[in-house]
Symmetry: C2
């Protein structure tokens, strides 16, 4: 159960829900991120759940260590929406959308990361995650059979090698994913997936591009690895 | 400084970086999410930073409360990538991309949220956030001058009123945002923005659609409000 926007002592009386749950279903575990101490006090008083204070637990030792008091202000997420960082993050999301799947070569200079890989290797969700979570302008570019024939990276990418990171995937898993999209197509066949993955990896090796296999990795892990490898200068979050 | 993937006692010797920082720049504050106790022990021993244990601090009381031991397993993010929830989340991201900006009317039945609002009111980042963070299939649909002339919601949306949520914005802020895109255009002019916002809000009121103003809100707050109002049946995160 989520109880968001508890920002006044008045609204804190919604802790009734906690005690009601305690009565009906057993003692609930309550995770709180409240920062206003008066509001927290209301929740705490007579609370029949186990209360875990995700912020306060660390704010108090930090106050002592740093020798300054937290102002315990609520609504920092609203402040964020007026900041340059937030503006840049929205810009990054828009950039990544416009530069999804090689849709645009314009402005690749301002990309901070360019992902390459065969179709359905995980480029799109990873690009959007890098933009949303880390405020990075992340373009992505598919490697297609024409590239394999030419045995060269798409020409538009050549000046940007330092920002390129490759995604690969096990052919068996790729075939499964593609079959959901286009069942029984040549595109989804295991043979074709094997060929594309092998050609894609050979090209990345030849071009000196760092890459990883996304087969058993979550977006979060893929993004963390990319940040470690590419080390973009600007990193908001 | 980020030190990811510290998953063996061996790699934990990277805590040298912590002590080096302590020497050169002063005592650092170290936030850790390590769950393997052996690895944590290596970091803790002789650590000259202030160590805040974001997981362990809560895991221990939870173990006591629940009367069970955490298995302290690392790599849960990798497990996630094999789960149905993860698969659904990737599907949600793809759905939201395909249904961005009214691009497709197909399959609106399976949308869990449909956002409407004038161009640049915040629909796209909010849809992608709902998909990425909460695994929701979120479509979005622009309200355009043609809709205002007809004084009706786009026909494709009429069967889905319960899932619709509106975003509005102050005309002054909207004009700023649009001017970055298309400077000095009629589209970005304050007069036109005033007209569109006023017509948009009138239409939402008339159609009984819940809505909020995004002017001073972050994506996180907008998404939380939408979840509160729409209460989708399926909510992964």
């Amino acid at each position: 159960m989520r109880l968001p926007f508890i920002d006044t002592a008045d609204k804190a009386h919604r802790r009734r829900k906690i005690n009601h749950t305690a009565e009906v279903e057993g003692k609930p575990i309550v995770f709180t991120t409240l920062v206003n101490m008066e509001v927290l006090k209301v929740i705490r008083e007579g609370c029949r759940g186990m209360l875990l204070d995700m912020f306060g637990t660390f704010v108090h030792p930090l106050e002592e260590e740093l020798g300054i008091k937290s102002n315990h202000r609520i609504g920092r997420f609203s402040d964020v929406s007026k900041s340059k960082e937030y503006h840049d993050r929205i810009e990054a999301i828009n950039f990544s959308l416009v530069h999804d799947d090689g849709q645009s070569n314009r402005d690749l200079d301002s990309a901070e990361v360019i992902l390459v890989g065969v179709s359905r290797s995980g480029k799109t969700p990873t690009s959007l995650y890098l933009a949303m979570q880390h405020g990075l302008k992340a373009a992505n570019y598919p490697l297609i059979p024409e590239d394999f024939e030419r045995q060269r990276l798409p020409a538009a990418l050549l000046p940007h090698r330092k920002k390129i990171f490759g995604l690969s995937i096990q052919p068996e898993r790729l075939s499964e994913i593609r079959n959901e999209r286009r069942p029984n197509s040549r595109y989804a066949s295991l043979d074709n997936c094997r060929m594309e993955v092998s050609e894609g990896e050979a090209m990345m090796r030849r071009s000196g591009i760092r890459w990883l296999s996304t087969t058993t990795k979550s977006i979060e892990e893929i993004a963390t690895t990319i940040l470690q490898e590419i080390r973009p200068e600007r990193l908001i979050y």
